[in-house]
């Protein structure tokens, strides 16, 4: 990325949503507990196709990386994740419904 041509620096900014802050917190806490390293986080982020930077937000890319590192580290299985995600989706249509308020 360093040195590539690119347009003006975007000046839009936003406050972080609670789900984004939770992603951030999960990264810090799992790293502190030795379940993955910041380098592992970076590896998955950097291995992503460039178009992910246009189609996904920052913390969307982070949750993908956290997930891949935790599965590789044996913290949970893909089957456990799939079951839990179905359970979450069945709770409601909004983030608030699905996360229990």
């Amino acid at each position: 990325m360093g040195g590539d041509a690119a347009g003006p620096i975007p000046d839009a900014s936003h406050d972080f949503a609670i789900w984004e802050k939770r992603v951030d917190a999960l990264m810090v806490l799992c790293a502190e507990r030795g379940h993955f390293t910041v380098d592992g986080l970076r590896r998955v982020l950097e291995d992503m196709p460039a178009e992910n930077y246009d189609t996904m937000s920052y913390y969307e890319r982070w949750i993908v990386s956290i997930n891949q590192n935790l599965i590789e580290g044996g913290v949970y299985s893909t089957a456990e994740l799939a079951a839990k995600m179905s359970e979450v989706a069945a709770r409601g249509d909004t983030y608030g419904d699905a996360t229990g308020g």
């Binding site: 360093g2 040195g3 993955f36 390293t37 380098d39 592992g40 970076r42 590896r43 950097e46 291995d47 590192n69 590789e72 580290g73």
Partner: protein
């Protein structure tokens, strides 16, 4: 990961970043490969992040802050040749320039 023999560097030494394009995760920016700079300070040792990234045992390595002139990095495209850029480069990516 096997232990590599890696040279020990000191401040003010002139070094060149290797031009390798190895497979896997690396911590060395592409735009600095093959460029020559001067060690601004020595840091570390820190475990090799290229191994940490895969959760495998990582060799402790010296980390060097290397200062490059913009002219060296970007040639004629540099905005001002004597502006500088500093980056942290792990010892196994550096070779001594004599």
């Amino acid at each position: 990961m096997g232990m590599q023999q890696v040279a020990e560097f000191v401040s003010s030494q002139t070094v060149r970043v290797r031009t390798d394009i190895p497979p896997g995760h690396v911590r060395t920016p592409y735009y600095l490969r093959g460029k020559t700079g001067v060690i601004e300070r020595t840091l570390g040792p820190f475990p090799n992040p290229e191994d940490l990234a895969y959760g495998v045992p990582a060799q402790p390595l010296q980390l060097l802050r290397v200062r490059f002139a913009m002219q060296e990095v970007w040639g004629h495209a540099a905005e001002r040749p004597n502006d500088t850029i500093e980056a942290e480069i792990y010892a196994h990516w550096l070779e001594t320039v004599t």
